[in-house]
């Protein structure tokens, strides 16, 4: 718009910026986009930045990974290592391993970039995990955002796949052990297992093809899918608007916060550099995946403390928790339920995660759009289900480090495993009930505060000798935050148009009862006024005394 004014008054005196922007705009028409996007408001809350953390660390992964492709050779041809690292000199290894060692020891800045790539990858998946938890616990997956939850979930799965394929590329002992476990899991699937394994590895494990194949997946197919899905995912955030917490002036139809241009863009841009800085700092100070310790892959040795990277840990833990003796021979085939049960359990868990928005919407019978984020306490059953899921996942996750838990806390391995078996089965149930009770208690406290104000700590003696504590009423802004949430009631079981009650309806009604039987309704206007009139009397009393 500044260009317009300058053009009308004194065209010959235009500044360089004005001229340049006009040049660009005349050829791209970008002003429309900037006008549209720049005015978009983005609500401010720390937890809304977690997705950005994932995005920014992904950029680091992408850039550092590109650097690594210049030097990494995805070949399993055998060579004798002849680089700088003394304890591996002359050792026979694959070209993949040797080139990774060269990146680490003989290419300037190589080790730093390798460590940045790996640390950023760990951070990428961790940020996705935390971001998913935020979206879940604030109910930001509700209509119209269910599909974007599915896209986000796919990104989480793809990120794990990216991570695992990358972890396997250097062809060191640790990654080879990891691949062997995957190979074992694949072979444990009845009927198709062995065929699938031979297809993946191009013959008997480990073969000479797997590193090349994983490399293609790691640098071509998976990143393309991740980039495409990120574009869709972020695009939908713009289309749907970001959710926001309840507050004065915040409507389902608006979005309150600083506009993207200039404030939010500047903040996010600065934040991006901070994230990069944190990753660079960690990468420069802390070793990650020291493949020179692990040595080249050889199917015979397995190191103590062999674990996958953290995001695959829950699957490794699931395998570790299965008691011995769950495989048997039937119809001349070995049925490895020690592998099938964890696979099925993890599969069910992941399906529940991705379909949760649809399940909840169906139980509620709720077809409205929701743009105001829930405070976790105001959806007690959902929050409790989330806590149960987190406990289940955390139990499996901890099991992946059972050996380190045993050595570092002077426990027995068997004791750790048994305790974690109990945690995975009983923990979610306990977590569910505790969380639900805590949520309801917090809601009651909110209600109490809205109706009677907060305790001021001021004790007043009334003329009759009675002592009371003066409660300070909330101001309107704080009250708004506490009273504006939705309360659902269990669905009534009613006959449909044909006068029948179907089994589906019965199920839905019982689930709805489970969800909403215990609930605290938000304070209504009437309740508030009633409480206030009572209060005023007390306050008048105290002021007169």
């Amino acid at each position: 718009m500044s260009t317009a004014t300058t053009r009308s008054t004194a065209p010959e005196k235009r500044s360089f910026t004005a001229a340049a922007s006009e040049y660009v705009n005349d050829r791209t028409g970008i002003a429309v986009a900037i006008k549209g996007l720049g005015r978009k408001a983005f609500p401010d809350h720390w937890s809304f930045l977690l997705g950005e953390v994932a995005l920014f660390s992904f950029i680091v992964v992408l850039v550092s990974g590109t650097f690594l492709t210049f030097f990494f050779q995805a070949s399993m041809a055998e060579v004798h290592y002849d680089g700088s690292y003394v304890p591996l000199k002359g050792v026979e290894m694959s070209v993949a391993m040797a080139s990774t060692l060269d990146i680490s020891f003989d290419i300037r800045g190589g080790l730093f970039v390798r460590q940045m790539h790996h640390w950023a990858a760990l951070l990428f998946v961790a940020a996705i995990g935390l971001h998913m938890l935020r979206v879940f616990f604030t109910g930001a997956f509700r209509k119209p955002r269910e599909i974007n939850w599915v896209f986000g979930f796919l990104l989480f799965i793809l990120a794990m796949a990216e991570g695992f394929t990358g972890y396997s590329l250097p062809d060191d002992l640790l990654s080879g052990n990891g691949l062997r476990i995957i190979d074992g899991m694949v072979k444990g699937i009845p009927l198709i297992g062995t065929w699938t394994s031979f297809l993946l590895f191009g013959g008997e494990f480990p073969g000479t093809a797997i590193v090349g194949r994983l490399y293609t997946l790691h640098i071509l197919l998976l990143p393309a899918l991740v980039v495409a899905l990120i574009a869709v995912h972020v695009g939908y955030v713009f289309i749907h608007k970001h959710t926001q917490f309840a507050g004065p002036g915040r409507q389902p139809t608006n979005s309150v916060g600083p506009p993207v241009l200039p404030i939010y863009a500047a903040k996010a841009g600065g934040f991006m550099f901070i994230i990069w800085g944190v990753i660079a700092l960690i990468a420069s100070l802390f070793t990650i995946n020291p493949i020179w310790n692990y040595g080249p892959y050889d199917p015979s040795p397995v190191s103590a403390g062999t674990q996958p990277d953290w995001y695959i840990g829950f699957a490794d833990g699931a395998l570790r928790l299965i008691p011995p003796g769950w495989e048997f021979v039937w119809l001349e085939r070995t049925w490895s339920f020690n592998i099938l049960v964890p696979l099925i359990a993890i599969g069910i868990f992941l399906v529940l995660v991705v379909s949760y928005p649809f399940i909840e919407a169906w139980i509620k019978g709720d077809r409205r759009e929701h743009h105001i984020a829930d405070r976790p306490r105001n959806a007690p059953t959902r929050t409790a289900i989330g806590a149960a899921g987190v406990t289940f996942y955390a139990g499996l996750w901890a099991a992946a480090s059972s050996d380190l838990l045993a050595t570092h806390f002077s426990l027995t391995m068997e004791g750790v495993i048994n305790a974690l078996q109990a945690t995975v089965i009983l923990g979610p149930i306990i977590a569910y009930f505790i969380t639900k009770r805590v949520c309801i208690a917090l809601q009651k406290k909110d209600r109490e505060i809205v109706l009677h104000g907060y305790e001021s700590g001021r004790i007043v003696k009334l003329p009759g000798g009675e002592f009371i504590e003066v409660h300070q009423p909330l101001d309107e802004y704080d009250r708004w935050r506490l009273v504006s949430f939705e309360s659902y009631e269990p669905l009534m079981l009613r006959p449909n148009a044909r006068g029948k009650i179907t089994a589906g309806q019965r199920l839905r009604a019982s689930l709805s009862r489970w969800f909403f039987e215990d609930r605290i309704a938000p304070v209504t206007r009437g309740e508030l006024e009633a409480a206030h009139s009572g209060h005023h009397a007390a306050e008048v009393d105290t002021t007169h005394s």
């Binding site: 002992l173 640790l174 020291p290 310790n293 040595g295």
Partner: protein
């Protein structure tokens, strides 16, 4: 005035100090020469009767409660006849014996005896029956082939001790201890005697030269810290995962809170 007077005197002003220093050097030197002579006498003679006698006294005072007065063993401890000097040097030299408490495995603690006493005990036990001897210095000083040692270590040792020698868990509360600051002699002795739950790696299984190479590799890892920075205990992905969640993501969440904080 005073200064000029002294200068004219017969004796140099520093003569007293010089005389004192000379006296100290002589006395100290003589003491050092005599005492080191006596130590050398006691230590260098594995078979000398005096060493064995001293060892026997120490043994009967400190070890015989469990191992028996003649090291023949009892219900509380095994017979030590034929375990060799290497075994005693390892167990007592690392502080595992005398045992701190009964448990799945003897714990390392600060050694209870001086090196000299450990040797006396070792040669006393060695005199009871033939067994592995304390290794010669050229086998344990880390002068071998680190690459060969690393490969042997990965194949033979890493499944319990971890590839970087960070240690690992065994069943029922037993564990393979970290090798991050174990001396070459003790590593060698552990291999030939198989203490606690460790198997014996005899000379047919791993030759003395190969053992030397393994020690060379472990010394290399001990002396050369990771080129990538702090090692996080060399514990692998678990330590890395904990680090990124607690410190990496923790720091970043703190930053997000800071960025979105309302300015006052």
């Amino acid at each position: 005035m005073n200064r000029s007077k002294r200068r004219t005197g017969r004796r140099h002003p520093l003569a007293t100090a010089a005389l004192l220093a000379l006296g100290l050097v002589f006395t100290g030197g003589a003491y050092a020469a005599l005492s080191s002579g006596s130590v050398a006498q006691a230590e260098a003679e594995p078979t000398s009767q005096q060493t064995i006698e001293e060892g026997k006294k120490l043994f009967q005072a400190n070890c015989s409660t469990c191992h028996g007065l003649e090291a023949q063993g009892s219900d509380d401890g095994p017979s030590l006849i034929g375990v060799g000097a290497a075994s005693v040097d390892f167990q007592v030299g690392t502080g595992r014996m005398p045992m701190q408490m009964q448990g799945p495995q003897a714990q390392v603690k600060p050694p209870q005896f001086t090196d000299e006493q450990v040797k006396q005990l070792a040669y006393y036990v060695a005199s009871l029956g033939p067994g592995p001897d304390i290794p010669a210095d050229h086998l344990v000083n880390g002068g071998g082939d680190a690459a060969n040692g690393a490969e042997l270590f990965r194949i033979n040792c890493a499944m319990c001790h971890n590839v970087a020698g960070a240690g690992g868990a065994l069943t029922e509360g037993k564990f393979a201890p970290p090798l991050t600051d174990v001396s070459g002699v003790h590593i060698y002795e552990a291999m030939v005697t198989g203490p606690q739950n460790m198997p014996v790696f005899n000379d047919l299984n791993i030759s003395p030269e190969d053992k030397r190479d393994i020690i060379t590799y472990l010394k290399y890892v001990q002396d050369n810290r990771s080129p990538g920075g702090f090692e996080l205990g060399s514990l692998g992905p678990v330590a890395e995962g904990l680090f990124i969640w607690i410190f990496g993501l923790g720091a970043i969440v703190a930053i997000t809170v800071w960025i979105t904080a309302k300015s006052n």
